[in-house]
Symmetry: D3
Subunit: 329 residues, 6 copies
């Protein structure tokens, strides 16, 4: 485990020194307006990311043989620029193998992944539809898929995404879907739950997360919807006797879950289960965005009367934290 | 109670005679392409509506002294035109006072209104917020409001609306909101429930439903959102010590519940409770539309492989009934 | 071969009799405004479709045991209603097996399918890329695919679609793409040609054309883009050593060929070949629509100064036939 | 009255010293790229606003005990950065009570507020409709409303807004509306004039202008349309015998005056007076924006051939000053 | 002058006979559902248009040698079909030369054209800008232009258009523009007035109105904006010494007067005069549409509580007649 | 010919000195954050443009008497700021007449303009339509038009535009149009080719390119579509006996070539030739944008796996270079 984290640094006073391991998320040579060259880095670990600057480029204590994706050991002091904290780096070298743990270097879910995974498998266990149960247990017992599903972030943007993010999002959605499924008897509960588990499964191949979160070229050209459909179809075709109509419905759930053509779903939801999946996925994503903004406002020291920043997921709307404004929390 | 209903007529063979009381929903003088004059009526009762034609205008058994909104007694036989059933009317007279019951004449909810009302009051009873509890019990104990709330349809269009429709919609939404409120701890449950109960309360003055479902002129010029806000604000202002911030939040819930400016909400949802109210209101309306279309497809004899008609609430999309297609129901 | 075709009927004078085989495209029981019942049919053959009416329903010469999709033998006379020609049918019976040829009953391309197919295979033969050549020859030598590809219409709407329409459209596009590929050296010609051949291949499973042109339920829920991608991916996965990057590019060509998210492509064209495919597909479809409208205007007797009807494919725009207006043709 | 104004400073040469009272509109701690800390201020008075910088933070002549909304006395010299003038501040202290006049500190209308108010009351005096006359004189004789109406800016953005801006805008609109009302005899002139006077009255509670122009939280959640309707409705309900239909029309004028749902009006104009109000309000706002841009171009030294900057109120369009281009002014 | 007008016929009882001259606006051969052939005509005169039917096609009293655009003498009786009045025509012949006056045959302005023209010329006379004065007097003194300007309708649709409609619209706009020009001193009044007079002048060549109102093919391909610009440019180029900048401004006024690219203006208004021209043209068109709908509602017997029909010019909105609803008129 | 070009400078190491002639594209006085004044210039020549800074403003070797549009001789050294190369200028003076060639100072086509012009004239020579041939040879033999047509850029933005760009774009389009014209026999080839040659001819007056590429005020107010139509119409009107219908079609081709109202075409394409012109113009512009982005990615050292920057002409989409990704080039 690391000694010092980005989240700790943020609370440092200007001038306090630090010394620790970080993942290099970006590296760029720059010059100040007064022609002074420096190295601009973005360093991260599981608790966040921060800009760092190296001013003494010729100093022998500053390594040159590192790149984006490497883990480095950096020593320096906290500094402020335009009201934002930065790292002023005086010494820097590449970490040797085993010296630091990659799992400490990327943000990851605050939940226990084993618990989340257990919950997910519990939902599959509860199915009464044997075909859907077989499909899901086949897919989730594939070691490569299971590993990736437990690790994958839900999106690329660092501030919205973390290791285990996909699984965390799906489990929240499972609990919500279960509540709604029992409210509307018309819904085929197992089909809905299947859609929840598989809707974003293409993200395990669309994204890479070994050295920061990025789209693979294949991901950009095909997209996680197509990749998820292909993976699911391949599994179904390997099962004997999976009902063709059920196959069509499962694939339709994945294809249509973005709910609108302009959001990249080539088909609109045409069955009640697909309609509900799209609604709940959208609601849950928005509620998480709201919660994040409320947390951020508190971290930034905003008062209860102040609106949050503009929320991308809500068309740049600003929100008010009800409970704080009412003085309830 | 009536002897014969529109719903019965629809199953009549061509030529079968009928004799019963109906509400006149429309009345128009017309002529066939061959210059034969006739009277075209739309007659309705609680089970539906049907077109009727009077061919023998001079016949003394055909009254002339009736108008839209009157109850009439009509006798005639079932007839088909372009595959649709019609009423061929041979005798017609205005009903005398007490001869027929207006409550039989308009479609109304299949649920027990007293039960629905009791459920609604139970939710208010469960509040821990004393101000919101007082606001709602004050409004709902106003006899005029209570009567109208129990009677009002949720919309004007006859095929989507019925007496008690507003209450039925709200109670469905209450149960759904309760489930979702417990899933997201950030939500102020009593505020959300208050929004559910009050969001459409302006419809009790926007619409009239004595003689068919119509918008009042005031309703057209101001809208139920404004009317609901005004009614709520007036009640709040009559209560001593209602917290001003809470007043703002309650009014904001009503104002923003359509979720988009172009749907007539002058403000977008800016608190989590308003966001959830808009989502659930939208989902519940769509799920009811889907259920109605599935019922209609079955009534119309469509096969399990056939898509429904185009659903207005879903941008004219056609849907597939999952369970029927899979042979599950 | 049939003795009489819909196209001949259209030139009949009112009252001329006919006697021939037709495919039943629609069948509906109706009543006139004066309560006279009749059977309304839409009858078609390879040259077009026409409305027909049966007035003497009880006549023993009128069969009752036929339905949509059957071939019938009908006798009657030409009649006019609101300036449109109709068939007044006096006798009607189901055709016996072998009595009529289904290939006469649906509109089909005016081109020689064998020639078109030969041209298509010639393009594949000309490839220098061995992987793409192998992929296409594998797919096109599958008897089921080859049969369906030669038969499939390009769309459902009868007036825009005919047997062999898909193949005819693709061959036109191949010739156009070849000309454009040589104009822009940056283009990978074999990849572009592969895209042309495969872009609509999903239509062979999206549509059915045995008894009129219809979407299958699977086609409605998944769409021809997804179906074409799945078919192509399955074939590629069966080939040893197909380059993974090339696979991604081929699938991307199919996925993106509608050119806009709102037209059902889940990804926009991101390589030059996909961009060109989308442009040419769109241009060729529009030019065919224009040609059809010009032909229709001439058939309808419009003068050279008159604009065509509103063209659906061109946003309901009306066009002017340059050459006719200038008196050049 | 102040000795020196922001507007004077703008014409200073670099290096000229100043000494005067200003309102603190923003205050932020910053650091240069070279790690030099400074205090960044936005200082304003009735003639404009300007950025100021304090470099010698430890200097005892620089106060620390002031905040946004305070009036301060600042001494320093004019300085240029990136072609924009700034204030380099050497001494700074909070003003003592009575030392400076808040009315000098915010931009305010160039017109005489008493004259504007008199004109407004003259319009009310001229009404022939006794109910509307009573409504308006009741509202405008409320001391709190009258005071706020005379003070309120028309919008939050400093460069578009000033004290008395609402009143100035309304009086311009009154004169324009009078001209148009006499052109169209169909218009109810008193109703139109009532709409002009009340359409933005909700801004007196939506905005605060004591220490710069800001939206109140209530203003953000409810909006000035709703607030204006509520204030008007409350007044009407306090009058005996105000005609209900007239009440509906007056409220409709306020509700619909933004003219489009997407601009925040929950109802579109449905009476001629509302239609005209929306047109004239929009035209007058745009003409003021154009005039401001022309003035700004001259201030910035642009030539007659140069287009203005992009005008926000005209969808970022750039304009040409007709008279200057023609050499007429 | 004619003896009988369409407007008179509308008030006839069923069966009343008529005998008069009318312009043939449309002629079509049709058949009833029962196969009875008839001739369907649309006959018009200056007061309106009406459908007419000829049932006895073989009758020697029914001429066959007439076509669209001819004046005919028709005798018959009033008849009703689906609540609309029709003309049942028993005798019909082509009018001989001189027997009827074409000026009686098309709807035309209710104003005195000479007075309107005089007003228009008076505005030109009042100009202080000699170049604009010369431009306009040159154009308006061209006999062909003057004749066409006095005759042209403002649009093709019969119910919105009449002979002299262009001139009537322009004169209304002149009076309105004069009022607004004096309200905004920034405006170049002569340039604005020039724009009002010339903005729609291209309609004199875009439309034809000899035999009903139609677009010419050239009008459809080029549009009245381009045609008006070309006509104006040609005149300016024929004048010696017309200032080039003024030419650009005048042409820009015409080009941009539709105000939006999607309404067919290739340039948006970029000078204040063009901005105002677009606003006033739009307002005046909408006010006329509103007035027409109010008149139509009264003609159709609607009550004061009833909304008008859907107004095309106002995005299908329905309106309420303020004065009638209040009982003021 | 110049000794040193911007393109050479870009490859200089930091500190390398230069000495050469450049065109001043922009000149602005600025100050650093630390209050140090400097002169910021954008200097260009035919190979590109670069930012330059003058720090020693008082130095007698730095001229003050130059302005935008002048050619200057500048001496200094290469410098880096924020990873971008800049010119640090130590000496600077205005060039004397004849010392430098303006043709070296602006970017220009890499093609031989005489060859392009010859190709263009060859297309005109090949016409079979004598009227169109006469029109084009008349226009292109006008020395002023010919000179401007050979010089004009195709657009204002420096990175998309160069001297001779219009001609280069048209010749590429001519070759493409010829290929497509022979594919669709319905097309009038000479009319299509005429449209290609004239569609952007208004740019010769819309833009100025003597001292950088700018819109003239007249260009901004009228646009190149209108200017091209006017120039063409004037020429046609000077020819005796040019067929009026052909004139209308030629003007329509120019008017409609942007293809959509919102792109500034006041009429949509209504003839096949106009439809094709719009498609090919759009395709060719996009293919050039793609090629430019691919070149730029290589210049910037991006790897084959990296997407290009966001392409403005393709709605900010990023592209992948097929051949590079496949390792084919």
């Amino acid at each position: 485990m690391k000694d010092i984290y980005i989240a700790d640094l943020v609370n440092f006073d200007e001038g306090t020194t630090f010394d620790g391991f970080f993942l290099v998320l970006a590296k760029q040579q720059r010059t100040t307006k007064n022609n002074k060259p420096y190295l601009n880095l973005i360093l991260g670990d599981k608790t966040g990311q921060l800009e760092g600057r190296v001013w003494e480029l010729g100093d022998p204590r500053i390594a040159r043989d590192f790149d984006r994706g490497d883990i480095v050991k950096a020593r320096g002091s906290a500094s402020r620029f335009d009201d934002r904290l930065q790292m002023k780096i005086d010494q820097l070298r590449k970490a040797t193998a085993g010296e630091a743990d990659i799992s400490d270097m990327l943000p990851s879910t605050a939940c226990n992944v084993d618990d989340l995974w257990h919950t997910l498998l519990g939902f599959v266990e509860s199915f009464t539809n044997p075909d859907l149960k077989l499909l899901l247990s086949t897919m989730l017992s594939d070691p490569a898929i299971a590993k990736a599903y437990r690790e994958a972030p839900a999106a690329r943007q660092l501030h919205h995404a973390w290791l285990g993010g996909l699984l965390e999002h799906v489990v929240s959605l499972l609990n919500l879907a279960e509540r709604v499924a029992t409210h509307y008897p018309m819904l085929d509960r197992d089909l809905l739950i299947t859609g929840v588990i598989l809707h974003d499964i293409g993200k395990v191949t669309e994204l890479s997360w070994e050295t920061g979160f990025e789209y693979r070229v294949e991901g950009v050209l095909l997209g996680h919807i197509q990749m998820g459909v292909a993976l699911t179809e391949k599994t179904i075709d390997s099962l004997t006797g999976f009902p063709p109509k059920l196959k069509t419905l499962v694939l339709h759930m994945i294809l249509s879950h973005h709910g609108k053509l302009e959001f990249g779903s080539p088909k609109l939801p045409m069955i009640p289960e697909a309609l509900v999946l799209n609604f709940l996925d959208d609601l849950d994503a928005k509620m998480q965005a709201v919660q994040s903004e409320f947390d951020k406002s508190i971290r930034e020291g905003k008062g209860p009367d102040e609106l949050t920043g503009k929320v991308w997921a809500l068309d740049q709307r600003q929100l008010l934290n009800t409970r704080r404004w009412l003085g309830e929390s």
